[in-house]
């Protein structure tokens, strides 16, 4: 059950969020409210507009109507990098790692914005920068150890097996010290064993890093096990919303999926 806890604040809210590309309305009048520390699922058939919603939150696309509010503040028109600084970070459907950098360097890049690095002073070695760099290295290694990736720290990021690459991308997002993490199909391409590990991993990071997670996924197992609340969209419109139980049995949802994923246990 979604706890109707009045103490739990709404961290992200979309109100009448819409975007139109030419004649196509990709997202239509979407209302969504995510509470702090929730794991919130965003599901729907292929092409329903889920990633578009992410892009609207990060202001990669400018909403043509409606708005998105993060901790009460409107995000409309903000520069994407400023949005990360405010505390929202996303991962991508197709893993986007820095392929020629090491695993550690990927993490360090994520940490960059939190360290107020002045490029000139840092190159000259002034302004206490050397100390900052050492601390960043320490923190990065701690983070890597925390998630079991320390032994790969010096490897090239793309040399990791697929499942670990996904994990690395998520950890890099964590390095930006977000309050809200947007995961775009983190389980894509994984076998059932990996999905189980990922499920636990996401639960762990929510607890350890005290964050809120918005999740796009097709693996219903993962969605049903993890999410506190789910929203279903189709053709850019909200189809249903509720707890995993409620959504699973919703007729409209079943219809939309038309021969729903066989992972769903009835």
């Amino acid at each position: 059950m979604r706890p109707n806890n009045p103490d739990q604040n709404i961290i992200l809210e979309a109100r009448a969020l819409s975007v139109r590309f030419g004649g196509l309305t990709a997202v239509d009048n979407l209302d969504m409210a995510i509470k702090e520390h929730e794991i919130f699922g965003l599901i729907g058939p292929n092409g329903a507009g889920k990633t578009t919603v992410f892009n609207l939150i990060t202001q990669h696309y400018l909403p043509t109507n409606g708005d998105v509010f993060f901790m009460g503040e409107s995000l409309k028109g903000l520069r994407p990098d400023k949005i990360v600084k405010k505390g929202i970070c996303r991962t991508f459907q197709n893993i986007r790692l820095f392929h020629d950098l090491t695993v550690r360097d990927n993490i360090l890049t994520g940490m960059h914005i939190r360290n107020n690095v002045n490029w000139a002073l840092s190159i000259l070695g002034l302004g206490g920068y050397n100390r900052i760099e050492k601390e960043m290295l320490k923190k990065a290694d701690e983070l890597l150890e925390h998630v079991g990736l320390l032994k790969y720290a010096d490897e090239q990021a793309t040399s990791l097996p697929y499942g670990l690459q996904r994990r690395l991308e998520i950890v890099r997002a964590l390095a930006t010290e977000p309050k809200l993490l947007l995961l775009d199909e983190p389980a894509a391409g994984m076998n059932p064993q990996e999905v189980t590990e990922l499920t636990q991993f996401i639960r762990d990071i929510r607890a350890q890093f005290n964050i809120t997670i918005l999740l796009i996924e097709h693996h219903m197992n993962l969605v049903m096990k993890l999410c506190d609340q789910i929203i279903v969209i189709n053709y850019g419109k909200k189809l249903a919303e509720g707890t995993p139980e409620a959504v699973k049995t919703n007729e409209k949802v079943i219809e939309a999926y038309l021969g729903v994923d066989k992972d769903v246990k009835s």
């Binding site: 990360v84 991962t91 986007r96 990927n106 960059h112 840092s122 890099r172």
Partner: protein, 366 residues
């Protein structure tokens, strides 16, 4: 030999570093005083190419911005440095056709300052055109736009006769630069690049190169960092251009063109994008190669037969080489391996296999 124990390593590193620096200083001294005029000039040219190539490496190698307009900034640096440092009497004589702009007529700055200002002006121009261009363009479009910009610079320099003396150029520049000047600037440039490589900003540049959308998703302000990289690289282009101008003892709108562009590009492609070691080494190799190949363009005698030299052969050989390299080694000859002091005494990885095999063998015979 077993690698030194962990505690001794940093000390060993330091010692080797000091030795290398000392060797470099001795080498510089020897070059300046004990070798012939011609080899000295070639070595100076190598150092100048190091500066220009590292400049482009910061833009292209680190940040992945395909700029074909690097030579435009070399031109700006050269002209600014020379015009500011030219003594007023010489200015009068050189600008004999139209006379020089009155506000420039009496400026005279010392050479070092002139060169630095040349670099700074280049960087400033880079910032000005960088913001609009780098915000929206990538890859091939960026290449063409920067090329277009460099050509515009050339046309402008050709036409502002009261400032630049137009197509006549400025000849008879004082020959004050020597190995110390060239190596000094080159050393500072390399040092800068090495520091940049170790610092968070350098990492950010590389992340933009590898996946700029992901970089932005990490909170990095793309345009800001791209412009920064562009400006830094152009600063060194300006410095290199100024030095090249003095090395040639003359500057004119035609001197910076596709040849420099090509050589710098070649140095970076062969040395490995973003690879400082490769850039330095290949600067020397390619510059020497270009000079050495001059002989194919001169008439030569082999076994008593006269071969008329064919101009254009040098560039042909090098372009064929570039084609070959880009087809075979896409990451450049050195890839992403950099030189570090510890690499001098650490057993290289590929030998491990042989040694393990040997040890395994001796175990079997027991």
């Amino acid at each position: 030999m077993k690698a030194a124990s962990k505690q001794e390593k940093p000390k060993l590193d330091q010692v080797i570093r000091i030795v290398l620096v000392a060797l470099l200083i001795i080498f510089t001294f020897v070059c300046e005083n004990y070798i012939g005029e011609y080899p000295k000039r070639v070595i100076m040219l190598c150092a100048i190419y190091v500066i220009m190539a590292i400049g482009l490496n910061i833009i292209f190698g680190f940040t992945g911005m395909f700029s074909l307009g690097h030579y435009g900034f070399m031109m700006i640096g050269a002209y600014v440095a020379v015009i500011l440092s030219l003594p007023p009497e010489q200015k009068q004589a050189i600008y004999y056709v139209t006379g020089i702009e009155p506000w420039l007529a009496n400026i005279e700055v010392n050479y070092f300052l002139g060169i630095i200002i040349g670099g700074l002006v280049s960087a400033l121009v880079a910032v000005l055109i960088g913001f609009p261009i780098l915000k929206s363009l990538n890859d091939d479009y960026l290449g063409i736009a920067t090329l277009g910009f460099a050509e515009i610079v050339r046309v402008v320099i050709n036409n502002l006769i009261t400032i630049t003396n137009g197509p006549l150029g400025i000849k008879g520049l004082p020959a004050f630069i020597n190995i110390y000047w060239c190596f000094g600037f080159a050393a500072l440039t390399v040092l800068f690049a090495v520091r940049l490589n170790r610092v968070s900003t350098g990492r950010v540049f590389k992340s933009i190169r590898d996946n700029e959308i992901a970089a932005e998703a990490c909170g990095i302000h793309l345009v800001g960092y791209k412009v920064l990289s562009f400006a830094l690289g152009s600063f060194f282009a300006g410095i290199g251009g100024a030095l090249l101008g003095y090395w040639t003892a003359t500057i004119d709108p035609k001197m910076f063109s596709q040849v420099q562009n090509f050589m710098v590009l070649m140095i970076i492609v062969t040395g490995g994008r973003g690879n400082i070691t490769g850039t330095v080494i290949m600067s020397f190799v390619i510059t020497f190669g270009m000079e050495w190949l001059r002989f194919v363009e001169e008439p030569i005698k082999i076994f008593g037969m006269h071969f008329q030299g064919i101009p254009g052969t040098r560039m042909l050989v090098f372009s064929l080489l570039l084609l070959f390299i880009i087809l075979k080694f896409q990451k450049g000859v050195f890839g992403i391996k950099e030189f570090t002091v510890s690499s001098l005494y650490t057993r290289p990885k590929f030998l491990d296999r042989f040694i393990k095999a040997k040890e395994g063998k001796s175990d079997e015979t027991k």
